[in-house]
């Protein structure tokens, strides 16, 4: 819900679903031939079906009921009448959102942070993996991986407090360094123009090592005969990277790119909310923090649901579009 899962992880998941999909297609003919086999399976494996029931209930209650509850967006919610008893108001709340003065800044903030993050956060793990792949000293390689992977395990709250401590106007180490070289202190978090860089670069610091793992795995899977062929042809190290390594990690990179673009409107709430203060709000207010504030803090349930629903629909549409484009252009897709 907090959308705290990192895009790279989704990448793996989808790579896997793709694999599973292929298997499912293979076995489909066998699995679904008759009701008869279903009955037989149910009789013989009733214990397995029993096992699944609590989990199905979990998904129904905590994922599908909320989906149905989203009709709230088209109703004027009041506690007494409940979700289904409240009167319909059509698209009133959507129109309210589109005509709201905060609509354009919200979209703009969300998009610009996402695009910035994509531009910086996408290539760095690839460079890291390409570099690590060239290292023959197992010890150095292990050390770099161990250290760069570690920040991933720092919680969002701790990450934000580290940012605050380091960027503090008076005692923060960054400003101490700036002062040492004769630059005046900067109130980074109190200046809305710094916000995007702070958000994006701290994110890269925290996740680059983690995201590189997928690319390293892709590189490990490159056919060794390609390297031999490159050597025979007298390719330099750089040429080998460009002509063998890069194409080798292309499929993984495309998947990650699809997911990142698909998630462009879905920046996580957790870090953003903690980094916000009244001084940087003009660039740091995004859809998810806005939904939280109007929904839970101001108890404006219907309006918040409409904004959230709008965001979900945009996300899903983006993902579908990007996936279709990628299928045509790169011949790689999520499903």
């Amino acid at each position: 819900m907090g959308k705290s899962q990192r895009t790279s992880f989704w990448g793996v998941v989808f790579l896997e679903t793709a694999v599973i999909k292929k298997r499912v297609v293979k076995t489909k003919g066998k699995a679904s031939y008759h009701w008869q086999s279903a009955k037989k399976s149910l009789k013989r494996h009733w214990q397995l079906y029993l096992l699944v029931i609590p989990v199905v209930l979990y998904f129904l209650i905590f994922k599908y009921v909320p989906l149905a509850n989203a009709v709230l967006a088209f109703k004027n919610y009041n506690v007494i009448q409940g979700i289904w008893g409240s009167p319909w108001v059509g698209t009133k709340y959507f129109e309210m959102f589109f005509h709201n003065p905060s609509f354009v800044p919200l979209i703009k903030n969300t998009l610009s942070i996402s695009l910035f993050q994509l531009a910086v956060g996408f290539p760095i793990p690839i460079l890291l993996a390409l570099g690590l792949n060239e290292i023959k000293s197992a010890r150095f390689k292990r050390t770099v991986q161990l250290v760069t992977y570690a920040p991933y395990f720092i919680s969002t709250v701790v990450m934000v407090s580290i940012i605050m401590l380091f960027l503090a106007p008076r005692l923060g180490i960054i400003n101490t360094i700036l002062n040492a070289v004769g630059i005046d202190s900067i109130n980074f978090l109190g200046d809305s123009s710094w916000f995007r860089s702070i958000y994006v670069f701290s994110d890269v610091w925290q996740t680059a090592g983690y995201s590189a793992v997928i690319y390293l795995a892709a590189l490990a899977g490159v056919d060794p005969s390609l390297y031999e062929a490159a050597k025979v042809d007298g390719a330099s190290r750089f040429q080998k990277i460009i002509n063998v390594d890069l194409p080798g990690l292309m499929p993984a990179a495309v998947i990650i790119l699809i997911l990142s673009v698909g998630n462009i409107m879905a920046i996580g709430f957790e870090k953003m909310y903690l980094l916000q203060n009244p001084l940087n709000l003009s660039t740091s207010e995004i859809i998810s923090t806005y939904v939280y504030k109007i929904g839970l803090l101001n108890a404006n349930y219907s309006f918040a649901t409409a904004v959230g629903l709008f965001n979900s629909v945009v996300n899903l549409t983006l993902l579908l579009v990007v996936n279709t484009v990628s299928k045509r252009v790169f011949r790689t897709s999520l499903w």
Partner: protein, 298 residues
């Protein structure tokens, strides 16, 4: 193949390029490492040294004052205990549920497994959103109870996918068929064959759920009101981010107290992250495995 490579002398250009790669990686290494070292050093320094900005790399006037303040803080201790509870119980619930769905879905004989897989993965693509979910949790009477942190996000879809892929790829169908012929029930088969074989995946799932639970604050923020239920991360938010630490420190005069609060922040960061960061080097391979299960085979 590697031994063979060494016999060919690399060209000058290649060696310079390799040098540049080493330089690049060393810079990245230092960029990631420095903040971590700085925090650790600050946490071990004296309050005066931290406030005067005298700490650069190594601890100055080493003391454990920061840690003493942290461990005297009841809010923090209480939050720590709560987080341990949420992490242990939450992980137990999550791993059990994940295996309960992942194993049947990995069986070819399980009728309707692909629609059910779609039923589950769809929730990853499209959700009702914050408010509708909140209202469900509310109507179940879970608001401001410990259940709110244990149940509503108990199952992560990608954990199900990972576990299912593991079962599919590492437990041969013949094993189940043989057990069936011998008249072994599914449950007995799960307890005496599957669980022992699934130890690696149970490790992966537990670690991921545990780290997720330990680090999460969002659910606690929206569902909890009573402070005695707060997990550590919410207490950290109040002290570190909202700067409410001053009230919790008793140290004579104003200036001294302010310095102590600053120092305590560093110690608190270390204390809060330590459980995860200490076990992490030993379990890193499990995490990497978790990310790569299935994709290796596929």
């Amino acid at each position: 193949m590697i031994a063979e490579k060494k016999t060919i002398r690399e060209s000058l250009g290649d060696r310079i390029f390799l040098g540049m790669i080493y330089l690049f990686l060393t810079i990245i290494l230092l960029l990631v490492l420095y903040p971590l070292v700085y925090i650790l050093s600050s946490s071990l320094s004296s309050p005066e040294a931290v406030s005067a900005g005298r700490v650069w790399l190594w601890p100055m006037d080493i003391t454990l004052d920061g840690y003493k303040t942290v461990f005297k803080n009841e809010q923090v201790l209480h939050g720590y205990a709560n987080s341990l509870f949420y992490t242990v119980i939450g992980t137990l619930i999550s791993v059990t549920l994940t295996i309960m769905i992942a194993y049947p879905l990995s069986k070819k004989t399980f009728y309707g497994r692909s629609p059910m897989m779609m039923f589950i993965t769809f929730t990853m693509l499209f959700s009702g959103g914050l408010i509708p979910t909140y209202l469900v949790v509310k109507s179940l009477g879970m608001i401001d109870t410990r259940w709110a942190l244990l149940i509503p996000n108990a199952i992560w879809v990608w954990q199900v996918i990972i576990a299912r892929t593991f079962f599919q790829s590492s437990i041969p169908d013949e094993l189940g068929e043989a057990a069936e012929i011998d008249g072994c029930s599914d449950w007995r088969f799960i307890f005496s064959v599957i669980i022992p074989l699934a130890k690696p995946i149970i490790a992966v799932l537990s670690l991921m759920y545990a780290v997720g639970q330990w680090n999460a604050y969002f659910d606690a923020l929206i569902y909890l009101k009573t402070q005695s239920l707060y997990p550590l991360q919410l207490i950290l938010r109040s002290i570190l981010v909202l700067n409410n630490g001053a009230a919790t420190v008793d140290a004579g005069e104003m200036v001294k107290r302010q310095q102590m609060v600053e120092l305590m922040k560093y110690s608190l960061i270390v204390v809060a992250s330590l459980p995860v960061l200490i076990i992490y080097p030993f379990v890193q391979r499990f995490f990497v495995q978790g990310m790569l299960i299935g994709s290796v085979k596929g």
